[in-house]
Symmetry: C3
Subunit: 472 residues, 3 copies
Amino acid sequence: MTQPRHLHPDLLFPAAEPARSNARALYPLVKDLPIVSPHGHTDPAWFAQNGRFASPTALFLTPDHYVLRMLKSRGISYDALGIPRKDGQPVEADGRKAWQLFADNYHLFAGTPSKTWIDHSLHAVFGITEELSSATAGSIYDQIDRQLGTPALLPRTILDRFNVEVIATTEFALDPLTQHQAMEADGYIGRVRTTYRPDDVTDPSRAAIAENLQKFGELTGEDTATWAGLINAHRNRREYFCRFGAVATDHGVPTAMTADLPLVEKQALLDKILAGRLDAGDAELFRAQMMTEMALLSVEDGMVMQLHAGSRRNTDPLLMRERGTDLGADIPGPTDYVGGLRALLSRCGNEPNLRLIMFVLDETTYARELAPMAGYWPSLLIGPPWWFHDSPQGIRRYLDQVVESAGFYNLAGFNDDTRALLSVPARHDVWRREVCHFLGTWIAENRISKSSAEDIAIHLSYQAAKDAYKIA
Amino acid sequence: MTQPRHLHPDLLFPAAEPARSNARALYPLVKDLPIVSPHGHTDPAWFAQNGRFASPTALFLTPDHYVLRMLKSRGISYDALGIPRKDGQPVEADGRKAWQLFADNYHLFAGTPSKTWIDHSLHAVFGITEELSSATAGSIYDQIDRQLGTPALLPRTILDRFNVEVIATTEFALDPLTQHQAMEADGYIGRVRTTYRPDDVTDPSRAAIAENLQKFGELTGEDTATWAGLINAHRNRREYFCRFGAVATDHGVPTAMTADLPLVEKQALLDKILAGRLDAGDAELFRAQMMTEMALLSVEDGMVMQLHAGSRRNTDPLLMRERGTDLGADIPGPTDYVGGLRALLSRCGNEPNLRLIMFVLDETTYARELAPMAGYWPSLLIGPPWWFHDSPQGIRRYLDQVVESAGFYNLAGFNDDTRALLSVPARHDVWRREVCHFLGTWIAENRISKSSAEDIAIHLSYQAAKDAYKIA
Amino acid sequence: MTQPRHLHPDLLFPAAEPARSNARALYPLVKDLPIVSPHGHTDPAWFAQNGRFASPTALFLTPDHYVLRMLKSRGISYDALGIPRKDGQPVEADGRKAWQLFADNYHLFAGTPSKTWIDHSLHAVFGITEELSSATAGSIYDQIDRQLGTPALLPRTILDRFNVEVIATTEFALDPLTQHQAMEADGYIGRVRTTYRPDDVTDPSRAAIAENLQKFGELTGEDTATWAGLINAHRNRREYFCRFGAVATDHGVPTAMTADLPLVEKQALLDKILAGRLDAGDAELFRAQMMTEMALLSVEDGMVMQLHAGSRRNTDPLLMRERGTDLGADIPGPTDYVGGLRALLSRCGNEPNLRLIMFVLDETTYARELAPMAGYWPSLLIGPPWWFHDSPQGIRRYLDQVVESAGFYNLAGFNDDTRALLSVPARHDVWRREVCHFLGTWIAENRISKSSAEDIAIHLSYQAAKDAYKIA
């Protein structure tokens, strides 16, 4: 029988000595450090309401686009996995059946980070060390389901068990922050923080943009039909988000393009949006200008700006029509950070109060653009490997390519960017193990002293994220 | 004296323990599996006529553009290597002299896959373990030449010796398949298969395109001056190729661009081609539309579609004028697979009967585009590393970058893509050794169980190619 | 206390056995080979005047943009580091204070090649093995300063101590070569050579271009208002540079674009430049045409042509206004070598007398474009990893990606490209160690024989550079 590889003590450490022992020696220094998770997509309702997770399927399968896409790629339909359709046609309603289908195909995940995260969760959270398979599907389902009813599996308890010091959620500008209000009312303050993600009012490719801008004005008491009013509305709303712990803004954009236009041109763009007369070039330019405005507001209020650029969204129109967004059809593309950020950086790249964290899906920019840029501009940090690259090999390519030109201290540490709560500790553990892998190898190559490596391992596992996001 | 390194039992296995022993333990499981070679460019006449190979020079040197280009790059003229000129001016006619020149410069191949393949062939096929050099050139030439006259070196015997289960050749749409007819008549059926490569009637940048389209009509009895007739001609011709074992189509295109135009625009493009009034943009658009048509025909007839995109052909106009194509001056360029395939995938990417295997020369797309795409679309598989990247380091970069997002089961296994028959087992052996290298390291890093690694090694060495190409 | 890692005997060798021992065995063969440094930016005045270096700060800090940029990236101002301002406003004048600030922040350099080079210089040149830090800043400053007054630290002695056989400086076309004249007068001939870098008269984006072209005419006695006269002026000036040992030309260009226009269009471009009516497209085209002209002159006079393409210069306009160029704000971008060089190579790529060495900052071109090109064209060699990529990991990525398609003999060996004299041996040592690392691993993987590896290690450390630059 296959020995379960879940949580092997040497998981991901270098294959050979002496690097392996070096990694082993570093790991205890970082293993149990608190988790700082300043960027992610968990649901604030979990923490506000602290209720029971519905089922194993709802916990592991249906919300995880990494898992869904892989099953679809081998011909398994989203209907059979229970993913709702817009047209209301029935899909598989029996979570246990969908789970079985998932388990029947679990071998497809060999070599993927999804398997690492799921195996980690099964073992660390539920004490399950059997391999998920057709044969074990039912009994594993039952074990999980049974435990979901216990206090140990309530969301706030999970944060305790995982030693999560801070976790950020992400909300749109128009979000009322109801869940965060509830946590505040409850005295549950500081641990779960919101993040200001104003794509709903900065991205004119959204159908509802004009309507959203009007609501934005109502919400903030500003006249968002004028440029000055629009900026004031953001100023006002950012302040509101900060009340609920926000330390950062976040921007999901197809490219890294920024602009710095004269007021008359900015107003003209806004006029076009409100009149619904915008073309694709105008939309790009408006988004580009808004990035510079967000940077200028960060200079004012000190919020950390995050740029997540380079995903081509919704590349499958059939999926989009049938079921909507975030189900696996977003595919990265090349991204030009140097040309893209030129306008923003020329305007305020040397401002001491600006902090901009760059995330990319285009690894070719690591050594060629991001590391040289972060190694020059005081305002720039490189975000951790993102999305498809948040994986053992992805982390290796990242460290290989950014450290030499950016150093260790221009990195923003790690963040897990997850929608799947249970994967939080698994992801941080992979990062920490890979940091130990990297530094353990460098010690063995006599490139870094043990004491430096220890400092850096601790820094990258914990303090770097706090520093980067200005979390006291 | 230098010990010959040919066929060292640990060739390409990890340098250090315990990964080396893990690779050693996996290799016997895959070493002698039958060879499935569903894509390549060997000459069907070899297998149809089963005659003697002419000479060592004709076997190893003159048909191998990898070897020729390297010699040219260090100042050795194609005249001296015996490569024919279009103007009929004399070139070196003495194969033995060209061979000596090759051997004199064999040190140039240190570190190249060409040397690995040639050394492997010399050793495994001819039992030669001396290093090729100025001193050994003559005696090695004689040893090869002597054996070429024996039954053991006849092409069909070579397929037996190499345990080749299936090998595909590649023919243009207008090819009469004479050699395949001869094999059929001979009862030599199923082992050597053709592949439908209709570039001669889909690529309008060819001078003879209008003439070719007319011939295509005559050959199939369709009116290729109408769009419906053109598609029918393909339908008809694909069926003809299938009679000779074809399981796949293949398309060599400069970019991955596809289109899905209304009929009136398609007909207008065709009219322009036939009238010889096409510009470069029209040519690109016609090729792009034909890719979608081929996909739709694959939905109908189940043939597997292969896209080989991204080579900039004939970059040396002097070479082209003097001697023609396929002599080393084709150089890769960046390729956009996400944008390129958008039209085709939007039209039929979710069709269960579509299978499209993507090959690239632009490694930056492995992790950024290909793996995310193959990990989503049920119709897509990633082809093995191609051309310059079909090498030990190339295979390492490939596995490093595709596995985590695509898994192992969205890969098409290996194919050798060779024109050099004797390199077939050498190339498959390099792939199998590198798969063992990769998995052996992952076992040592506790990322995969031994039994999973065994399953995957066997799958990637044999079954994956059969599954990908629907070979029963 | 931290053990100093400076000059560890196994620095950068593979972490694990047996590759480590293989590297160790290769290294003594290359360690003490003479240094050939055919491309760099040291100041010829040092060697002509052979005077004392001013201070530790002037030696290690203020001229090194790698160091300055990293300090700036963490919020340290160029004022505090003593970098002069154009407006004459005072900056830190006390070199000792700036040195202390540098030492206080020396931990930022962990993992960077800058630290490797500086530690190497401190140890190998000054015998200092303490780690630079806040605590040791003063005493290290004193130790360096004291030694700067001794004969052992005079520039020519340093060349002796480092066993520098040849070192090239780089001068613009209008440079009178005063320092090289002084060395000639002094009988100090052949060791320090100039390089012809005519960007001052080939790059129309320079404000003074028209004036420069006029000076160029006066200097050479040619009518640079005509195309023939302009080319003659270059012919004349190249000959003048050769008198002072130049073996090569060098060209810093934003892209690799070349052109091959008819005379009438060339003259029209020149007319526009002289009239000050050039737009950005014209400027690109003029530069592009000049690259082909330089290649044609290389065919005539045999000078080796170097192309350094792909840096986006002066991306921080504030820095540019305040302090000028070469202070860390030059950031690489993607570069298209295949399309770019097409015109030049079509014109003269097969000329036996042409030698063109390609340097890139875009590593994605290594395997995709440069290695295939250098493995075909007899005129092309691949330059060593450049700028941000002249680092241990950068060298690994380079060898990983170029060797298999280009072989070892289409590489130009190493050059250090430095402005910092003391880093010359450190950089060559890193290259030699990484070559031993690479070959030591390949020996352990049974991919190359020990004797081949020995030949190649010696070749890449010494002879390759002499061959590439035609240094007898």
